[in-house]
């Protein structure tokens, strides 16, 4: 049964599972082997698909009702007595309604609470700005001790959830509404927290993307190769914090031009994190950010919104072409060295 607005999860494709479903499945598997895992939600069990976990381990699942601040405080308390809580709700509520609890209860005490924030960005299109979240990466980045991961698809979400178990402190995993197309066709491509995954090689320019941007960037890279003969590198920067500085520095020295793509405000998210590295490196690099330009988005299907804000393959390709026209200071010198 399909509900296009995304208020309940549905199967995108019987054969390939969506991010939320995979999350629920992996969580259930983890808790089969690890008795410390518990699940929590704020009345969004079905919407965040943690309902799979709920079905299999009802004694370790707790619905806290529509009370996100309490949800995070309770998760902190459970972590204090030795459990590993996975707390799911929409990104807007996890990162803003309960921001203080996340920071003061969970991050300050460095507790192993794993926050699974769904419906991030504008993936909840029709619901409008009150249910969108284009600020969570900026907020979560600023909390010490927090690890921030934005998986590109369901498969990567599974990897992230498993990896989160091995991180001693808090983790924030940000996913969409579950209709996102799959990107990886297998799980063992070498996911490692804090290490960008080079999904397309190139030398003319680097696109650093996360979440839905990864698939779109790779599509754009193919487009640009066929139409413009360009060689574009694409990095899946799934871990926003700690960010993979080495990969960014390589992109600076090897391609000199970087475009970031994120379903987030251009202020404070992936783009800003990359800009920090570029600026601190002291090296010249042409740079641009694709994201929401400090605005609240319109209502609409997410795919339409991505196109409108230039975050789809065509939008990215256009931004790449624009970025390639940016001049460096050194470009004045065209005399042959003889």
């Amino acid at each position: 049964m399909s509900d296009g607005t995304g208020t309940t999860w549905t199967c995108y494709d019987a054969a390939t599972m969506t991010a939320r479903e995979i999350y629920g499945r992996v969580l259930a598997e983890l808790s089969d082997t690890d008795p410390r895992v518990v699940g929590l939600t704020a009345d969004l069990s079905k919407s965040t698909a943690i309902v799979n976990f709920e079905r299999e381990h009802p004694d370790r699942f707790f619905n806290m009702g529509i009370a996100e601040q309490n949800l995070m405080g309770v998760a902190a308390g459970m972590a204090k007595v030795g459990l590993i809580p996975f707390a799911s709700t929409f990104a807007a509520f996890a990162s803003m309604r309960a921001a203080e609890q996340v920071r003061t209860d969970i991050c300050y005490q460095n507790l192993p609470v794993k926050i699974i924030a769904t419906h991030s960005g504008v993936s909840f299109g029709a619901a409008g700005t009150t249910h969108h979240c284009t600020e969570d990466l900026a907020i979560m980045r600023s909390f010490a001790n927090m690890t921030v991961i934005v998986p590109a698809d369901g498969t990567e979400t599974a990897n992230a959830v498993r990896a989160a178990m091995d991180i001693p402190g808090p983790v924030y995993i940000r996913i969409g509404r579950g209709f996102e197309p799959p990107f990886y066709d297998r799980e063992d491509y070498g996911f490692a927290v804090g290490k960008a995954h080079k999904v397309h090689d190139g030398t003319d320019l680097t696109v650093i993307a996360c979440g839905i941007g990864v698939l779109q960037a790779v599509e754009a890279a193919r487009l640009l190769k066929e139409q413009d003969g360009l060689s574009v590198r694409v990095l899946n920067m799934h871990t926003i914090k700690p960010i993979d500085r080495e990969a960014i520095l390589s992109a600076i020295t090897e391609t000199r031009r970087i475009l970031t793509v994120e379903e987030h405000n251009t202020l404070g998210g992936l783009g800003s994190a990359v800009a920090d590295v570029i600026a601190e490196s002291g090296k010249g690099c042409a740079f641009a950010k694709a994201g929401f330009p400090d605005v609240y988005s319109e209502v609409g299907y997410p795919e339409d919104l991505y196109a409108h804000y230039g975050l789809d393959a065509n939008g990215i390709a256009d931004r790449v072409r624009k970025l390639l026209k940016v001049e460096f200071e050194e470009d004045e010198e065209w005399e042959d060295e003889v």
Partner: protein, 296 residues
């Protein structure tokens, strides 16, 4: 009567000594939330010197009872209690408020031995206590979780979220205690943002509410014992006593209790004590305990 004659003497003695400790630390540190510390002290004494199942030699003991000081600014009372209970030396409190010290206005669980939760921002403690109690159930452990809140703190909505959840999940091994001293920073609670009828609200939220004099050790002890009984499972594994209802204790207290010039005074929410005031304070404490009968 929950307390034997010997116990009463001992506990009142402890409380008197700790009131003086609070004066000492406040005067040496440059300032503290002394009013709210003094109103909470008797509750802390009963918990830490009689009712909490803890082991200062083993602060990480997994079966221990948990205590969350949700009104974290009462750290001025809390850390001397922990010291006298044996978690660390009282001398360490000389560093209170100083750079690099683990001891300050609010307790830091990462650095203070025996402290179960870092608190300070009002409203955060009770949800964590709910989490601990729920966690105990998942782990199949029988420890109890006590949580001390301020009354002004109950303005925070998240406190009521936590109370609602505690009742919903029948957390009878969770005991919230409210230090009802009637005052907050900008004035009496009923003037700033009224809480009354508080007991009715708590009852409506699904609690068995006990309202006692927060400085009468017998009364507070009786309430705690009632709450403990509510959390004991019957042979059949069900809770008895309140019929699955958790207990909430409203301790009616006086802010600044024991130091006459502070009692009931709004400004003494936070204050510093110079040498002159220190003498006066200590004398006042002596007078308080002389007036309590049956301790000699």
């Amino acid at each position: 009567m929950p307390l034997s004659t010997e116990e009463r003497k001992e506990l009142y003695g402890r409380a008197k000594g700790l009131r003086k400790d609070i004066v000492t630390v406040t005067s040496e540190s440059g300032g503290a939330h002394i009013g709210g510390g003094l109103s909470a002290l008797d509750i802390l004494v009963l918990l830490y010197f009689k009712y909490l199942n803890i082991d200062p030699e083993n602060p990480s003991w997994e079966e221990r009872d948990r205590f969350v000081l949700s009104k974290g600014h009462a750290a001025i009372a809390y850390v001397p209690v922990l010291a006298r209970r044996g978690y660390f030396s009282f001398d360490e409190l000389k560093t209170f408020n100083k750079f690099g010290s683990p001891f300050g206005m609010h307790p830091d669980s990462r650095r203070i031995r025996g402290c179960d939760a870092s608190t300070g921002s009002l409203g955060h403690g009770l949800p964590m206590a709910v989490g601990m109690a729920l966690g105990a159930r998942v782990l199949g452990k029988s420890f109890r979780t006590f949580c001390l809140l301020g009354d002004g703190e109950c303005n925070e909505g998240v406190v009521w979220e936590a109370l609602m959840a505690a009742a919903h999940y029948k957390l009878t091994r969770l005991v919230p205690i409210i230090d009802r001293n009637g005052l907050m920073i900008d004035g009496p609670t009923e003037t700033v943002m009224s809480l009354e009828p508080l007991e009715e609200k708590l009852a409506a939220f699904g609690f068995d509410v006990l309202s006692v004099d927060g400085h009468d050790l017998d009364a507070v002890g009786g309430a705690i014992e009632h709450a403990i009984a509510a959390g004991d499972p019957s042979a059949a594994g069900e809770t008895v006593g309140s019929g699955g209802k958790p207990v909430c204790i409203v301790a009616n207290t006086t802010k600044g209790k024991g130091i006459d010039f502070m009692e009931g005074e709004v400004p003494w929410h936070y204050g510093s004590i110079d040498a002159e005031l220190r003498i006066k304070a200590l004398e006042s404490i002596d007078r308080m305990y002389e007036a309590i009968g049956g301790l000699a």
